[in-house]
C-alpha cells in the first residue's frame, strides 16, 4: 500500500512549513492585505501570487538547510560567517521580534475588544497561556495545539465567500500584473511583499525543522509540507484581499486596520462574515504570538551555543525558555503600558523586519550554495535561479520602501 504509507510519512513531517507560513498571515499581514483589497480591489492580487512563490522558495531552503546541517539559521550564520555578523543579525532579529510580538498582542487585544473584552484582561491571559503551553508541553503537544490553532484561518475563506466576490475580476487581478500610478500603490505592493516573507519565519522554519528531527531521506515530503504551508498562506491572504475588495472597495471605503475591516464587513456581508473575520484575526494573533518568541528563543540559544529543544525540561535549557518568556512578557507589558506610542513602534518594527529580511536571505543564499556545509542538499541550478529572482524582488521592494520613506 504505497499510497497509504506515503500519507503516513507526510503526516509525520508536516508542521514546519505550515506553521512558519501561516505565522506570516499575522494581524500585521491581514491588515496589509485588507488595505490592499480595500484600496485597490482585485487589481494587485498578482503581487500576492509573486510573494507566495518567494515565500515557498525561501521556506523550502530554510527547511532544507535545517535538514542538511542539523542547525538553525542563527547558529549556521555564526558557524559560516563568524561571531560578529551573527551577533549583529541576532540583535536586529531580537529587536524586530519583540516589536512583532507587540503587534501580535495588540492584535489579540484589538480583536477581543470587538467582542467587548478589555485588553488588560485578554493580553495577560493570552501571554500566560502561550507561556505555559511552550514551557510545559512536549514538542508533540505544542505542535498539535499550534496546528489546531491554524485551522482558525479557514474563517477568512468563509468570510471571503460570504462577501460574494466577482470571481472573474479576482482571477484577472491574480494573473494580469498592473500597477496603478502613485506612491500609495507602490507602498501597498512593497508592504505586501515585506509582510508575506518575514525574518522570524525564516529563523523559525529552520530551527523548528531541526527540533522536529526531520531527516534528509524524507526531503520529498518536507517539500510538500513547505508548499502546502506557502499555498495556504497565499490563499488565505488572497481571500482577505477578496473579502475587502468585494465589500469595502466596491463601496469606495478605506480602512486603517484589520479590526476596522472586520467591523466594516458587517453591513456588506453580514454579521457572520464580520465575526469570522474577527475570529480569524484572534487566531492569527495567537499563533504568531506563540511562534515569533519561539523563533527568537531558538535564535538566541543557537547563537550563544546552548541547546534548544521543546522536549527539554525548563531547568535543562534555561537560556531557551528564559529568552522565550522574556520576549513574551516584554511584549505583553509594552502593549499594556497606557499611552505607549504603539503605532510608531509597530511601524518601526515593520520597517526593521523589511530591512532585516534582505541580509538574512543573502546569508541563506550563500550557505545554500556552499557544498562544504550543505553536502548533497546544496542548491541546484534551478533553486539558485529561483532564489536570486526572489531576492531581487525583495531587494527592489525594500529599496522602493526606503525611497518612499525618505521622500516622505
Amino acid at each position: 500500500m504505497p499510497r497509504r504509507s506515503g500519507l503516513v510519512a507526510l503526516a509525520a513531517v508536516v508542521g514546519p512549513g505550515v506553521l512558519a507560513g501561516l505565522s506570516d498571515d499575522d494581524p500585521a499581514g491581514i491588515t496589509t492585505y485588507s488595505i490592499l483589497g480595500a484600496d485597490y480591489g482585485y487589481e494587485l492580487l498578482w503581487v500576492l501570487l509573486l510573494s507566495t512563490v518567494a515565500l515557498m522558495l525561501f521556506h523550502e531552503l530554510g527547511e532544507r538547510m535545517g535538514v542538511a546541517t542539523g542547525q538553525g539559521l542563527a547558529g549556521l550564520i555564526r558557524q559560516r560567517f563568524g561571531v560578529r555578523p551573527a551577533a549583529v543579525a541576532l540583535a536586529a532579529l531580537v529587536l524586530a521580534n519583540v516589536g512583532t510580538t507587540c503587534a501580535e498582542f495588540a492584535g489579540v487585544g484589538a480583536s477581543l475588544e470587538l467582542a467587548g473584552v478589555s485588553r488588560y484582561v485578554s493580553v495577560p491571559i493570552a501571554a500566560v497561556a502561550i507561556g505555559l503551553l511552550v514551557t510545559r508541553g512536549s514538542f508533540r503537544r505544542v505542535e498539535h495545539v499550534l496546528l489546531a490553532l491554524a485551522t482558525v484561518f479557514a474563517a477568512y475563506i468563509v468570510a471571503g465567500l460570504l462577501a460574494k466576490p466577482d470571481w472573474g475580476a479576482a482571477a484577472r487581478g491574480l494573473v494580469v500584473p498592473s500597477l496603478p500610478a502613485g506612491r500609495d500603490a507602490l507602498l501597498a505592493v512593497t508592504a505586501t511583499v515585506g509582510t508575506t516573507l518575514a525574518p522570524w519565519g525564516l529563523a523559525f522554519i529552520q530551527s523548528y525543522a531541526v527540533d522536529k528531527r526531520l531527516t534528509p531521506d524524507r526531503i520529498r515530503y518536507e517539500r510538500v509540507d513547505v508548499c502546502v504551508g506557502a499555498v495556504m498562506t497565499g490563499v488565505i491572504g488572497a481571500f482577505v484581499v477578496i473579502a475587502a475588495a468585494a465589500t469595502l472597495h466596491a463601496d469606495g471605503r478605506s480602512i486603517d486596520s484589520a479590526g476596522d475591516a472586520a467591523a466594516a464587513l458587517e453591513p456588506f456581508a453580514g454579521a457572520a462574515a464580520s465575526l469570522l473575520f474577527g475570529a480569524g484575526l484572534l487566531g492569527a494573533a495567537l499563533l504568531a504570538a506563540s511562534i515569533v518568541p519561539l523563533a527568537t528563543a531558538y535564535s538566541i540559544s543557537e547563537t550563544l551555543g546552548y541547546e534548544a529543544a521543546l522536549d527539554d525540561p525548563v531547568r535543562e535549557a534555561p537560556v531557551f525558555y528564559g529568552s522565550y518568556a522574556l520576549v513574551l512578557a516584554l511584549a505583553a507589558v509594552i502593549v499594556l503600558i497606557p499611552g505607549v506610542p504603539l503605532i510608531p513602534i509597530l511601524y518601526l518594527t515593520q520597517a526593521l523586519n523589511a530591512i532585516l529580511l534582505l541580509p538574512l536571505m543573502v546569508f541563506m543564499y550563500r550557505i545554500a550554495r556552499d557544498r562544504h556545509t550543505m553536502g548533497a542538499l546544496a542548491n541546484g541550478r534551478f533553486a539558485d535561479a529561483g532564489q536570486l529572482v526572489a531576492l531581487a524582488l525583495v531587494a527592489a521592494s525594500v529599496a522602493a520602501l526606503g525611497v518612499i520613506a525618505l521622500a516622505g
Binding site: G75, Q79, V83, S138, F139, T373
Partner: protein, 404 residues
C-alpha cells in the same frame, strides 16, 4: 594557555621582517590526543608549514627561511574553518555546545590544541567588551572530551583512532548520536564496533533509533541489528514505515527475521510487544543445581530474566523460579499465572503488583510459552510514560550483555 582568537589577523613576517600577510587559520593533524599545529594559513589561502615558524607571539608571527609557502594538504583540520563557532558535542557532559575559542598550549617547539572554550565569556570577548567578558564564566572542555559536529571535523575525528568517539561505550554513544544530525549519527554507528552500535541503538529513543536505522540503510543496518536483542529490534522496526520494515526484515535472514516478525505480530500496548522471547526455562522436576549451572553457562541479557520460567512437558508455564531460589539451591516456584501475548499491558502490571516476581511469563494463543516480560522491560515502558518529553535521549533501556 593561548587563545586562538588573540592570534588571528596578527601580521606574519618573514626572516627579513617583510610582511607575508595576516594569520588566518591554523591546521592540526588529528593523530594525537592533543593534536599539534602543523601549518598556518595566511591571506589569500597561502599555507606555511609549522617547521618554518621561528616565533609565535601575540604581536606577530615570525618565519625563518624564505621558501615559498607550501601547497594545501589533505586530511588537515582547520581550527577557524572547522572548529571555531561550530557545534561540538561534549561527550562527558552530554550536551551540545558552540566553540567560542580554541585553547592552545606550547609544548617545546610545537603548539598543541588542548581545549575549546564554549562559555559565554569567550564569545563576548571576541565581540569587544572586556569588562563584561570578565564577569562571565569560562567553560573549557578538554579536546579529548569533544566530538566535532561540523561536517569535516566529524569525518576527520571518525577516521582518527585518537579521537574521543572511539573510546565511548554504548550509553555515551547513544547520547552522542542523539545530539548529532541523523546522517553523522549513522556515520558514528558505522565506525564503532557493531555491538557498541547495537547497544547505542537500544539505548536511544525509539523514534531516534528508527531514524538512524533508516539512515544506515539496508546495507549497514542488518549487521548492527544482528547484535541487538530481538525485542529491541522489533521495537525499533515497529517505529518504521511498512515498506522499509519489510525490506529490513528480508535482509535479516530467515531465522532472525522470523523471530522479529513473530514479535511484530503483537500490537504496541500489549504484553507481546514488550516481552523478550529469549527466556530461560526449567522442567518442573529439574534439580536447582542443574538450573544454576545452565544459567551460569548462558546468562540472560537482563537481570529480570535470571528468574527462570518453569514449563511443563507441553510447553505451558506453571510458575516462575526466583533467582534467589536458584542461587540458594532451595525454594519453590511462584505460581504466577501467565499473560496472553495479546493482553493489554495493564494485566502484566497487575501480575507484577500481586506476585513479587521479577518476570512474568507470556503465552501464545495455544497457551504455550512465547516469552516473558522482565521487570527491566516494563520499567522502560513506565519510565517513558512517566517522563513525557522528559530526558531527550533516554538511556533507560541500555542492556549490558553478559560477557561471552
Amino acid at each position: 594557555m593561548l587563545a586562538l582568537s588573540d592570534y588571528l589577523r596578527q601580521p606574519v613576517l618573514d626572516a627579513r621582517g617583510g610582511r607575508v600577510g595576516r594569520l588566518r587559520d591554523l591546521a592540526v593533524r588529528l593523530d594525537e590526543r592533543e593534536p599539534a599545529v602543523v601549518a598556518l594559513m595566511v591571506d589569500g589561502g597561502r599555507l606555511v608549514g609549522w617547521e618554518r615558524v621561528a616565533a609565535f607571539e601575540r604581536s606577530e608571527v615570525t618565519l625563518a627561511g624564505d621558501e615559498p609557502p607550501s601547497e594545501a594538504e589533505e586530511g588537515l583540520l582547520w581550527l577557524v574553518r572547522d572548529v571555531l563557532d561550530s557545534q561540538v558535542v561534549d561527550v562527558e557532559g552530554k550536551r551540545l555546545a558552540r566553540v567560542g575559542d580554541v585553547e592552545l598550549a606550547r609544548d617545546g617547539r610545537s603548539l598543541r590544541v588542548v581545549a575549546v572554550d564554549v562559555g559565554l565569556s569567550a564569545v563576548v570577548l571576541r565581540l569587544g567588551p572586556r569588562w563584561l567578558a570578565r564577569r562571565l564564566s569560562r567553560d573549557a572542555l578538554a579536546w579529548d572530551e569533544i566530538h566535532l559536529a561540523s561536517g569535516r571535523g566529524h569525518e576527520l575525528q571518525l577516521s582518527s583512532p585518537a579521537a574521543a568517539v572511539h573510546r565511548l561505550g554504548p550509553e555515551e554513544l547513544a547520547q552522542l548520536v542523539g545530539r548529532l544530525p541523523v546522517g553523522p549519527g549513522a556515520d558514528v554507528l558505522r565506525t564503532v564496533p557493531r555491538p557498541h552500535a547495537a547497544g547505542a541503538l537500544g539505548a536511544s529513543r525509539r523514534a531516534v533509533a528508527a531514524g538512524l536505522v533508516r539512515e544506515l540503510g539496508t546495507s549497514d543496518a542488518p549487521a548492527v541489528l544482528a547484535h541487538m536483542p530481538v525485542d529491541d529490534t522489533a521495537a525499533v522496526l515497529r517505529a518504521m514505515g511498512e515498506p522499509e520494515r519489510e525490506e529490513l526484515l528480508g535482509r535479516l535472514g530467515p531465522e532472525e527475521g522470523g523471530r522479529v516478525r513473530r514479535l511484530l505480530r503483537y500490537r504496541s500496548g500489549t504484553a507481546g510487544a514488550v516481552m523478550t522471547p529469549d527466556v530461560r526455562t526449567a522442567r518442573p522436576d529439574e534439580p536447582l543445581g542443574a538450573v544454576r549451572e545452565r544459567l551460569a553457562r548462558d546468562p540472560p541479557a537482563l537481570d529480570g530474566l535470571l528468574s527462570v520460567v518453569v514449563v511443563d512437558p507441553d510447553g505451558r508455564p506453571t510458575g516462575v523460579l526466583p533467582a534467589t531460589a536458584v542461587l540458594a539451591g532451595r525454594g519453590s516456584p511462584v505460581a504466577v499465572p501467565a499473560v496472553n501475548a495479546s493482553a493489554p499491558l495493564d494485566e502484566v502490571i497487575e501480575r507484577f503488583a500481586t506476585y513479587d516476581v521479577l518476570c512474568v511469563p507470556v503465552v501464545d494463543e495455544q497457551g504455550r510459552l512465547a516469552g516473558a516480560v522482565a521487570v527491566d522491560d516494563l520499567l522502560d515502558v513506565l519510565l517513558a510514560e512517566r517522563l513525557p518529553g522528559g530526558p531527550r535521549y533516554d538511556v533507560m533501556s541500555v542492556r549490558r550483555r553478559a560477557p561471552t
